[in-house]
Symmetry: C2
Subunit: 451 residues, 2 copies
Amino acid sequence: MPQPESVAESSRSLQEIIKDERLDEAQAWLEERPPHVIADELARMGGAGAGVAFRLLDKDRALSVFEELDPVGQQQILAGLRDRSVLELVERMDPDDRVRMLREMPAKVARRVLAGLSPQKRWVTSALLGYPEDSVGRYMTPEVVALPQDLTVGQALETVREKGADAETVYTLPVVDAGRRLTGVVELRELVLNPPDMMVADLVVSEPTTVYATEPAEEAARLMGETNDLNLPVVDSEGRLVGLLTFDDAAEVIEEADTEDFARQAGTAPWAGHYMAASVWRLARYRAVWLSLLLVAATLTVGVTRAFEATLEQVAALALFIPMLIGAGGNAGAQAATACVRALAVGEVRGSDLLKVVWREFRVGLLLGSLLAVVGLAVGTLFASADIAVTVGITLVLICGWAATVGGTMPLLAKRLGIDPAVVSAPMVTTFVDTTGLVIYFLAAKAVLGV
Amino acid sequence: MPQPESVAESSRSLQEIIKDERLDEAQAWLEERPPHVIADELARMGGAGAGVAFRLLDKDRALSVFEELDPVGQQQILAGLRDRSVLELVERMDPDDRVRMLREMPAKVARRVLAGLSPQKRWVTSALLGYPEDSVGRYMTPEVVALPQDLTVGQALETVREKGADAETVYTLPVVDAGRRLTGVVELRELVLNPPDMMVADLVVSEPTTVYATEPAEEAARLMGETNDLNLPVVDSEGRLVGLLTFDDAAEVIEEADTEDFARQAGTAPWAGHYMAASVWRLARYRAVWLSLLLVAATLTVGVTRAFEATLEQVAALALFIPMLIGAGGNAGAQAATACVRALAVGEVRGSDLLKVVWREFRVGLLLGSLLAVVGLAVGTLFASADIAVTVGITLVLICGWAATVGGTMPLLAKRLGIDPAVVSAPMVTTFVDTTGLVIYFLAAKAVLGV
């Protein structure tokens, strides 16, 4: 009964199927699914299993699946292929994808692969590799159909037809002068919708938004999101056209940047791999550095508490509220930090807004602190005494005002100092506010309780 | 000397220029800048100033700038315009942008605007408003050039030329049968690059990726990022074509979703406005609910500490390490939670991975805890005694193992229960881990110190 069996088994994962060495079934599984689903499954499998599954794909689908993988996953696949298959695959990739994969490879392997490419591809690849990491140059496509200035719409369409087959996109057509300097852009849409004898010059957008090949890819991608352009022409420092940044590469850049920012916000080193594919060791390694640094920084809280040991011994009940108070301060600081990091990333806040942000966050913090103080007064009265409740209330107002100010200021200061604001993580703010918050608490206690 | 003056003043912000009522200068400022820069400046200005500046723009640029604003900013502008200008502007917007703006308006105003539209636009708008909030239907463009199945390339291009002027995009051309059921998709690129007498049927992708109008826009947008499609055809439950989700709307959906996730990760209610345009009250309001809830939850730490008051009184030095230990637990939990929330958002982890994730994070936590224990032993010995140092070390191992497990599990549990995993914020995990971490600490102290 082949029919019911295949239905029942369609829900099994590729990993299980490969483990059972049922290659026919694996092939059927692969044929039924789109490339991005296969790529995700391969990334989760990792190692030998993914290699076996990959070799079951036909040539064209293999390329599509391969291009969907992130560089870490791509390397795993390549490691299992023979040299000739590797070269064939790499030769057929888009130049910008190839460059980003080569970057992740051990230098020795990358050199061997590069040497095996056809001269033209090697040239293009080396050119892209010449741009700084994470720059637009690493993400752009150099294979562009550029139009001269003086064509009719009909002639322009003819040019697209002749030269367009190899280009990643023909929807945005840069217009260049004799020195390949960019003078404008025309959309394919305009050529199709207008009569053939019209002049291209009449349809050209003459001051298009452009980006430099050397500028950070994230900035260019965010700009593209704001201007809603499909592709942005990329120019060198002299305004000569060198490529196009396409919408899908921009989307990839933004997804990577946001994933990185998320990781950083939680105090984790950013990385490019698949969560399920990473080993436990690897996951731990990415988190270990920040976690240890933060612990070392947190030993300051031990020092501060010891400095006020006399106060604590006189009024033992003060210890009860320490976790709650520093927790509240940490949360208020994390809220402000995250809001400012994101506002900086999407361009709503600039480095020059520093003082405005400090003033805003200070007031927001005081407002929130006053609200929390009401809860604090109640909790303090319930678990301790009226004067301790007052201490807790005052501390909450001050801690929140301080935490929000610090949280909002640190990312902007980082930006001004030329450091990526996302490095200012919520745990960093929390740890800093923990220490200073304790000082605030004990000083408030001394003032109110007179100890 | 008008020349030097204008140079010197070009660095002034539009806000300052408007405040000085120098309308000529404001007009010059506006003419020199692209729409997205103007929109950002208007969003920061808010209120009357933005209204004045907006009225200085010519009609076409006004529309471009208006479409770049978020719904909150759009409303501010509309509030300052006369009814006729409002209608003119709204009439010329893209249908999907119009729908999202109407959603944000007070119902009364929205009804009046809707009533003033031309019958055809009113019909399209009402249709889109019929889809659930945050669904694909609210973001798609209904104005699509669909092709019948049996055309030649030349005829298809002719159809595009006739009907394409009003469509938001003509680059993705859905192919439909007589019942408007989607049968495939052909790219304009294919039509342009192939001979006019070829049949469109030979170029059609016959099983294109599609999305339902009622499904969540975020899922559709992430899918688009994975398939690298420029536009995705949107169908109803019977497979009939109802629109296209375009790349720029998808990018907008993802930026909004990521901003929302960032806010939630820090325990802030998500909102759609511009950071610099929001009032202090408004910023505080978005953060107040979670901050108060977390404080109330944190009162549990007061209860736990009081329950172990006898232990604390016997060994007062235990109090010294409380902030450091719960800080470390909170950080480890936040790292795990953020990693899992992001992995779920981008589709690397699925709800069914729950047990795998629990097991992974538990081991990652123990590894990290063992590393931190080394620091803990040193700090404990330095500030207190050997047996307290051992207590601190053991607590760090257990707290980190527990925190990472909780942090990794909570988002997946939320997903399984049908709650947005991003609601599981880092502060929520931190607060939960604070309380349980204290219990772990005091129990470890009892075991090691025998108090």
